[in-house]
């Protein structure tokens, strides 16, 4: 019996390890390769991109996936950070699109979720149902209406065409509503009896208890919009305003060494955010999935 359990556990461990390695490999490859010299990059990947440049999609058999650089070099980073300002400009575009979306979406979702939590009735149920339906739709379905509304509002080809739809995303509202409903009604009643008004109940009682959910939503939204491609491609025709996520796909062709460095830099904000809020993220998601308590 004990032997069977040991075999089972070993099998689970090995399978998990294989999956973990498979998930980590591209990230590790990107980071380590970003420290290679241009000549080493060319030697490893040159064939692929020469073919791509000539219009062929042929990938050379000479591609050499190499994890450890022969010589550690910061030349790709120097080029990205000091010699080519367009990368930093795109990076800044990503920041000024993503940060307002995160702030606005968390703010709007908190208020909407509080409303859905505190007030009951048929109208609330109907609106919430609409939210859920909207959430279930793939983003591509709402992209056309977003385009039409943006054009009608005259904000097409401005950052607001991305930020405004981002601020009113239903998924965050849904998650936060589920989380807020876990707060015992007696806490809200106690606050009421203690003299708190609705705004104070929201800010002093409800929001502090949703810290984990707010943080996890902020991280998820950040990752989602930090990596967006379709929205800027359709709603921001002006290439100057497009974020790095769009630009990355373009520099992959031809400048693979730079692409590795840019991708590594691009990962840093997400990674820092994740590391800082890992505890909250796990707690927030676990609560929403009713894993806990």
């Amino acid at each position: 019996m004990r032997k069977k359990r040991l075999i089972g556990r070993t099998a689970v461990f090995i399978t998990s390890a294989i999956f973990a390695i498979a998930f980590l490999l591209p990230t590790v490859l990107t980071i380590t390769n970003s420290f290679m010299t241009q000549s080493e990059i060319d030697a490893n990947y040159g064939q692929v991109f020469q073919s791509a440049n000539s219009g062929s999609t042929f990938i050379s058999e000479q591609v050499n996936l190499k994890f450890i650089p022969d010589k550690v070099s910061l030349s790709q980073y120097v080029r990205v950070l000091f010699q080519s300002p367009e990368y930093l400009l795109k990076f800044w575009n990503s920041v000024i699109l993503t940060v307002p979306i995160v702030i606005l979406q968390v703010g709007v979702a908190s208020i909407a979720a509080y409303g859905f939590t505190r007030w009951r009735g048929k109208v609330r149920a109907a609106i919430f149902f609409f939210y859920v339906i909207l959430m279930l739709m793939p983003y591509q379905v709402t992209l056309v209406p977003n385009y039409l509304v943006s054009r009608w509002l005259g904000i097409l080809n401005t950052r607001w065409a991305i930020i405004l739809p981002g601020a009113f995303a239903p998924f965050s509202v849904f998650l936060l509503t589920k989380y807020m409903r876990r707060i015992p009604v007696s806490l809200i009643e106690a606050a009421k009896l203690d003299g708190a008004g609705e705004w104070q109940i929201f800010t002093k009682v409800c929001l502090p208890q949703c810290r984990a959910a707010l943080y996890s939503i902020a991280i998820l939204v950040f990752i989602d919009y930090w990596n967006m491609v379709e929205q800027p491609l359709i709603l921001l025709a002006d290439a100057e305003k497009q974020p790095l996520s769009v630009y990355l796909s373009q520099i992959n062709v031809g400048e693979v060494g730079v692409a590795f460095a840019v991708a590594t830099i691009y990962m840093i904000p997400t990674l820092l955010l994740f590391l800082h809020g890992e505890e909250y993220l796990v707690e927030g998601i676990a609560h929403q999935g009713s894993v806990k308590g």
Partner: protein
């Protein structure tokens, strides 16, 4: 003055579910009133209507001289202790207690003074910097009470505050509440389903069932002279024994026949029944277990199990297929041998303490005629 008056108060929930029917009650200033009853009897709903957490469908509620039907909870000058403590988990004990004072924009120094005073009363001074998750159940309950007393409200509302505690802690906290009451000297409304809490804490008890008041009275009145079978069965552990009986009229006196035996009723019962010209017929005889004495006379019963509780033994027996219980006090001087299961014993009711209930309405035909002051209770609850 903080009396609480209910005038024809009714609560009807959606889909027509009536939680409280025509509730009329006057709770006196500085009185400790306990609402007791089984789950779903409407006691918490009534309390929540006083708090303003439930709307009133019909009737009026006054706190002091003020009609509060449409007054916001925060403006009713009340505080409430919840069953699950309702402590804010993200705040320290200090901030929890100070929350209501901060909302009222009280000066910081005054807040600090009041919080420290409350903490000292409840012996939680060393816990002020902790968060609720770092407290035991009993400590949380103290903090919840602290949050309530710091405001010095006109009326304290307590909704089953001890239900989440274990038996030992519950007994301890019950005593704390009695002491707190002596200090605060204000009006308390306390909701519980635990009759021991009701009996030990209340100046008066309201026994409720299905949204109706079954009886209002002092603990002694409710226990010694229950108004009906519901109250008789609900108050008291082990509960009152009920035996099918017949009320007889023989030679100008009422008698009671139960389990084949005829018992004389005392003069006080004779007077009560005569004054109401009660007709003979089928009734239910009620007798508390401690008033049923095992001896050589009385109705025969088949002994069943005996339970030792420490100071007493509960002897279960079958009388005409109905289980009844007799409580036998145990003293160190006299030993006690429990009857062998299946053996025949005789149970003699103390006829001065017998209750007779109308078979159809459940009403106690002798209500008010019993000697309810079984012992003189010094007024220890109040200074």
């Amino acid at each position: 003055m903080a009396q609480v008056v209910f005038e024809n108060v009714k609560k009807v929930y959606e889909k027509g579910v009536v939680a409280v029917h025509d509730f009329n009650l006057e709770i006196h200033d500085k009185e400790f009133m306990v609402f007791v009853g089984p789950s779903g009897c409407g006691k918490s709903t009534t309390l929540r209507m006083v708090a303003g957490l439930e709307t009133i469908t019909q009737g009026n509620i006054y706190i002091g001289d003020r009609l509060v039907n449409n007054v916001l909870p925060k403006d009713r000058d009340i505080s409430m202790v919840f069953q699950n403590y309702a402590l804010f988990p993200h705040m320290t004990v200090y901030d929890n207690i100070a929350f209501s004072l901060k909302r009222r924009k009280m000066p910081k120094e005054e807040i600090k003074k009041r919080v420290l005073e409350a903490a000292e009363i409840l012996d939680i001074t060393e816990l002020l910097k902790r968060k609720p998750k770092a407290l035991s159940g009993g400590q949380r309950q103290r903090v919840a009470i602290g949050r309530s007393i710091v405001r010095e409200p006109q009326v304290f509302l307590m909704d089953e505050p001890l239900s989440n505690l274990d038996a030992k802690l519950r007994n301890q906290m019950r005593t704390e509440i009695v002491k707190l009451r002596r200090r605060m000297d204000t009006t308390f409304i306390y909701v519980t389903h635990d009759q021991i809490e009701a009996m030990t804490l209340g100046d008066r008890i309201v026994v409720m069932d299905k949204g109706l008041i079954m009886q209002v009275g002092t603990p002694q009145q409710v226990y010694g002279s229950p108004a009906n079978m519901f109250v008789a069965g609900f108050i008291g552990t082990p509960q009152m024994n009920f035996i099918d009986a017949q009320l007889l009229w023989e030679n100008g006196r009422y008698k009671l026949m139960a389990a084949g035996e005829i018992f004389e009723l005392p003069d006080v019962a004779q007077d009560k029944l005569s004054s109401e010209s009660r007709q003979p017929g089928d009734v239910i005889m009620g007798i508390r277990p401690e008033h049923l004495i095992i001896g050589d006379s009385g109705f025969p019963a088949s002994a069943d199990v005996s339970e030792l509780t420490g100071s007493t033994a509960n002897v279960h027996a079958l009388v005409e297929d109905r289980e009844i219980v007799s409580v036998v006090p145990l003293t160190s001087a006299a030993g006690y041998s429990a009857p062998i299961p299946g053996s025949v014993i005789h149970l003699m009711p103390d006829m001065d303490m017998v209750h007779i209930f109308d078979k159809s309405t459940g009403e106690n035909l002798l209500a008010g005629s019993h000697k309810v002051a079984m012992f003189d209770m010094p007024d220890v609850n109040r200074d």
